[in-house]
Symmetry: none
Subunit: 192 residues, 4 copies
Amino acid sequence: MEAIFGASARILEQGGRAAFNTNRIAEVAGVSIGTLYGYFPNKEAILMAMARAELDAARDRVAAALLDASSGVHPARRAVRAVIETYATGGKVRRILMETLFSHGRSEELARPVGEIADVLVAQAGNVLPTGPERLGPVGLYVLTRAIDSVARAASYEGMSFAQSQAFEDELTRLIFVYLGWPEDKDNAPRE
Amino acid sequence: MEAIFGASARILEQGGRAAFNTNRIAEVAGVSIGTLYGYFPNKEAILMAMARAELDAARDRVAAALLDASSGVHPARRAVRAVIETYATGGKVRRILMETLFSHGRSEELARPVGEIADVLVAQAGNVLPTGPERLGPVGLYVLTRAIDSVARAASYEGMSFAQSQAFEDELTRLIFVYLGWPEDKDNAPRE
Amino acid sequence: MEAIFGASARILEQGGRAAFNTNRIAEVAGVSIGTLYGYFPNKEAILMAMARAELDAARDRVAAALLDASSGVHPARRAVRAVIETYATGGKVRRILMETLFSHGRSEELARPVGEIADVLVAQAGNVLPTGPERLGPVGLYVLTRAIDSVARAASYEGMSFAQSQAFEDELTRLIFVYLGWPEDKDNAPRE
Amino acid sequence: MEAIFGASARILEQGGRAAFNTNRIAEVAGVSIGTLYGYFPNKEAILMAMARAELDAARDRVAAALLDASSGVHPARRAVRAVIETYATGGKVRRILMETLFSHGRSEELARPVGEIADVLVAQAGNVLPTGPERLGPVGLYVLTRAIDSVARAASYEGMSFAQSQAFEDELTRLIFVYLGWPEDKDNAPRE
DNA sequence: GATGAATGAGTATTCATTCAT
DNA sequence: CATGAATGAATACTCATTCAT
């Protein structure tokens, strides 16, 4: 039921996790609680489903950015930009969703999309990327992808003033370059 | 009250956050609930106080490792090692504590010790470090310190098999070297 | 829920306000607390609803007495008698209910039925009453009705020995007569 | 301890009965709770003592007004005026105090000062009053004194707009005159 | 007398979940 | 399939009172 997701998002946005209760969700969604339980086994399942959808969307956005050859911007920079933008949007709800996953010990879930991006990276090596992450072992790949993701997330959630600045994008991009042993990126492509 | 912290830790360890209720804490700590509320204004305050203590301890451990000149191991590697060890210990409780801070929007609190480590780094530049992070702007410093911390934490909480491996330590150390433009570290110092 | 009112009355009668707690009410009423809260938003609402019902019943009793032409007793005396009887019954519960209204600053609620009686009085002037309270301004009407009500209540709640005596009824009736400038009432109708 | 009464009054005035707790009283009064319990056996005792003091003060004020021959105003009117003024002052605290007495079934306490005024009335009959309440039996005296007191209180606590008007004073005064069979009072003495 | 740390019984209210209709 | 009335376990927190110092 799409109505349930919509209602949940609205409630989460307005009242935070505290206001998120099944009776309220059913009311806002315009269905009965019985119906709600027909679609989801329990409250957490709703949050989980939303979190996964959110994660998939983010992964798709980053993968698309990586593969999009239409601009002259370097793929690594495009990916960094997509990650930053992802954390800049979604606000409160996104954060609560991530939290839910984390507190349920589902960090692997959180990790999944990042890993999938890494897969795309490897598969496209030599194609979208000059010389690629295939030179990295699995540990190196983990460190690199997780670093970009984590640092972008931290900057956003810690409310750092530079979280969406060009300088921040530059630094994250540079991290990729130096870590992969690429020569410096010169295309300081300004964000539109 | 030390007893309260001890009891809280035990309860958190065994039953997780769900089992963490004031009546139980008082009981396990061997004090009355009234006394509990004499020391803490509410349940969350206990968690917050514990989290801060934990964070301070972690910061001290990493700072000490950074400044400890007794071994022949490179300071950057010593720091990486301390960070990894910190996340390897503390288990469930530590994790719940961090979560609490995060879900209360106190990400800055989480960030504080990392920032303090960065301060130590800068202060000691040219002393413990050959040429140092003073070359980095604030954004670069943020990216570097947060990356090390976040990636080490992610690997631990996601239960990655290599979370405490030599290879992982190497990669994180290498990240620092390449990011600071240092020549490769050769002292692949084995962990004790 | 009638069961809730019944249970509340019983509890109030036996244990007073101190024993009046939601868990107990639900238990005695044979419903779950959840159900209780389905019908009333909070504990006070139960008391309020009961108080209003009580007040309405009292008003109806007095109004009926006033309009009842079946006996040869003077309407004013009939009303006085009804008021006295009202305070003589209901005991502890009635008292606690009135208190609740009063302590919630809802004195107007307490006043309402008395005002409604005054309305009946004015409407029926020249009909049930020889020459009537229409000669009184609003202030005079207030003083008269409130005096009868308050004095009867005081005598009852202060446990005065004469609270239900003929002499007391006579005095209150006389108060009405002299206040309205009527000639003395001679029908000292004995209470059955 | 005067400090305790003062603190209690302040707390009652500001936060109502809900804010009235022993720890708070001790704090505001600047004494320890232990000391508080050295002077009063329990919380209610404080309220009771305050209520009695308030009642005595009111009684003294009315008695003084009754006996004060300095003005040309009729003693009955002077008493009515004093009663009205008493209820007009004291506000929230006075009300809570009266409530306490009432809800503890100490209505007799509430009645006491009124009875004492009646005693003064009888004792001074033929002196301050032309022909007096000695013609009334005890029931009549009760009805008269209680009526004046109750109606003045009701008007004040129900927030009637005329509670302090000349018209209200006139009506209550007239009640006394007609009840005692006195010829109409002509000295519509304006309130200062 | 004064102190104030400690006590702990007591309670209103919430909300996930069920299941008879 | 949908409904929503009913359930009741669970819990944070208050505050009058005590008593060792």
